[in-house]
């Protein structure tokens, strides 16, 4: 329409504002808060490590680098990536209640690890991880396939389908675990727990960090997918390729996180919803906030899980379940338009 319409008043251009001063301030505040939580996380724990001891005591320094730093990094990476995975699922399914654990993704990853454990008992972590990712991919595709056959796609039916599918897969997993006496082993990755994280046992999580970054790089395509297939195709996007990419990221994140630290429920649900309320669904604008908030919440929950019963720890997955359920309830009650 270039030539035929006169350009609108010149003054309107300035409304193309970026985040604005308030946006930058909020981002700085959020960044500072996550940083502060991370520092607390580094100095909380069973053995007494203080900044002062780090300087003078080589043993303390070694412990710090061996255990504390990896743990905090792992929390930030896993929290950010699981939240981004939730965001992607919500865009792809156009439903705010879908996340990897309400789509059969996480349960499939768990089944994948179990099967490898049964078939190749001594398999190293990378093998289990790969199995988890492949299983997560298949489970997510199954979910999307079932969805395509469901006529009524109301906002509650979609997650219900996912939860039922997840429950069926979980039941299969439990059956095999029972059969092969692996129920206790199953417990270690069914509930997210960072107490075993140390140097050499968390590095795989950098992969999910890369996945979160990838999501940021293809953010516009994910946003368009959230507008639905019709609009995506109309503006010339290869919709199937975007869905494949999104599902790939989600499966990889879920598979790696489940095999390294275990299930982290609710993060993928509450974090993208909280961000959406304030920033909206523009994925490029949302991903940085989702990462900050997701990492921050997980670090906070982990601190709680470490101090609440000192010197013992409770799994962070448990804390997350309680906090997440509460936040989710508040969200449900406060927000009428849930899409």
């Amino acid at each position: 329409m270039a030539a035929t319409t006169p350009a609108t008043a010149p003054g309107t251009r300035q409304q193309n504002r970026g985040p604005g001063a308030r946006g930058y301030l909020a981002a700085a505040a959020a960044g500072a808060a996550v940083l502060a939580l991370s520092v607390v996380s580094l100095f909380v724990g069973a053995s007494d490590i203080t900044p002062a001891r780090l300087v003078g005591d080589p043993d303390a320094r070694e412990l710090f680098l061996l255990s504390r730093v990896p743990r905090t990094l792992a929390l930030l990476l896993a929290g950010a990536a699981m939240s981004v995975a939730g965001l992607i699922m919500q865009m792809l399914t156009q439903n705010r209640f879908v996340e990897p654990s309400t789509a059969g993704t996480v349960q499939s990853a768990s089944l994948g690890i179990l099967l490898v454990t049964i078939l190749f008992p001594g398999a190293p972590l990378p093998v289990k991880m790969t199995a988890a990712c492949v299983a997560a991919l298949l489970g997510t595709l199954l979910f999307l396939g079932v969805l395509r056959r469901v006529a009524l796609k109301s906002s509650l039916i979609v997650p219900l389908v996912g939860i039922m599918l997840g429950a069926v897969i979980s039941a299969v997993t439990t059956f095999f675990a029972l059969r092969y006496g692996l129920l206790q082993t199953l417990g270690t990755w069914e509930s997210g727990d960072f107490s075993g994280i140390m140097r050499g046992r968390y590095e795989q999580l950098w992969l999910v960090g890369i996945m979160a970054l990838t999501a940021y790089l293809v953010a516009d395509r994910l946003t368009v997918a959230g507008l639905g297939r019709d609009i995506a195709v109309s503006i010339g996007l290869n919709y199937r390729a975007v869905v494949a990419l999104g599902v790939g990221i989600v499966a990889m994140v879920s598979g790696v996180v489940v095999s390294v630290v275990g299930t982290l429920p609710f993060l993928g649900l509450i974090v993208p919803n909280l961000v959406s309320m304030v920033v909206g669904d523009h994925v490029r604008k949302g991903v940085p906030w989702v990462c900050l908030l997701g990492g921050g919440i997980l670090v906070l929950c982990d601190i709680v899980s470490r101090v609440i019963r000192q010197p013992f720890e409770i799994p962070v997955g448990t804390v997350l379940g309680v906090v997440g359920a509460a936040v989710f309830l508040v969200m449900l009650l406060r927000r009428r338009n849930v899409g």
Binding site: T223, L227, D230
Partner: protein, 252 residues
């Protein structure tokens, strides 16, 4: 020119499009009317390559819809279907910006920005540009989607029932804007529409469909007659000339 050759589409045992051949010339507003199940929306959706046909061919300016590369085709033809349930929380301006996607792939140039502002102005959306879509009324949201489609700056614009969910005032203003898009922006607009009187008052051509076929095609004067409307809708319609437009009276 949009050209359909022997286009067929079946769902299970029911034939929705039964060998439709049709030409839609460049320019102006073309309305597709007909009773429910006549195949109007199916035809529009296939032209807009959102649905695959079972037989036949659609070309747009000689480009085969099935084979044209998505991005190139998206610079030539845009389609907007009825709104879906899920409303993304995007601001109106961000939504309209995605109309530039085929041209910019997300990196908007100064010209893209100018087009976005022009489309917002064209649909009187400037005061709402910063609002989230889910905070708007149905009519405002519909306008935002139309602005996005216009911003795509394609020669052909297909709209599937753009008056759905609009009250009288907004329906009239939507039709005026569609007319203006054809007249002042030189677009070829094809709309599927239920209200025969809107079709009569705002189109250059009307295509009347029945049972998966094009029953009639012509100017509003040719289509808006009691005989044709009886044949198409199986309903007695008295047609009167009101204020320069032929208006069908069918309420009693």
């Amino acid at each position: 020119m949009i050209e359909l050759t022997e286009l067929t589409k079946t769902y299970g045992s029911s034939t929705v499009l039964d060998g439709v051949s049709l030409r839609i010339e460049r320019g102006g507003v073309t309305s597709i009317i007909g009773p429910n199940g006549a195949g109007k929306s199916t035809m529009l959706t296939i032209i807009g390559r959102l649905l695959a046909s079972d037989g036949g061919r659609v070309t747009v300016d000689g480009m085969d819809v099935d084979r044209a590369p998505g991005r190139e085709f998206a610079k030539r033809l845009s389609i907007l279907r009825q709104e879906n349930q899920f409303t993304t929380r995007l601001t109106v301006r961000d939504l309209v910006r995605f109309g530039r996607y085929p041209h910019s792939q997300g990196r908007l140039t100064a010209e893209d920005h100018a087009q976005v502002e022009a489309a917002l102005g064209f649909l009187d959306l400037v005061p709402l540009a910063g609002r989230f879509l889910d905070e708007l009324s149905g009519g405002q949201r519909q306008r935002a989607y139309v602005a996005m489609v216009l911003c795509q700056d394609t020669d052909y614009v297909l709209l599937d029932e753009p008056l759905n969910n609009l009250d009288m005032k907004h329906a009239v203003s939507m039709m005026r804007q569609i007319r203006r898009a054809a007249d002042s922006l030189g677009k070829t607009v094809v709309v599927v529409i239920h209200d025969i009187n809107f079709a009569s008052a705002y189109s250059d051509r009307i295509i009347a469909m029945r049972e998966g076929r094009v029953a009639y095609s012509g100017t509003p004067a040719e289509i808006m007659t009691s005989e044709v409307l009886l044949d198409v809708f199986d309903l007695e319609v008295r047609v009167e000339e009101v204020g320069g437009a032929r208006i069908g009276v069918y309420y009693r």
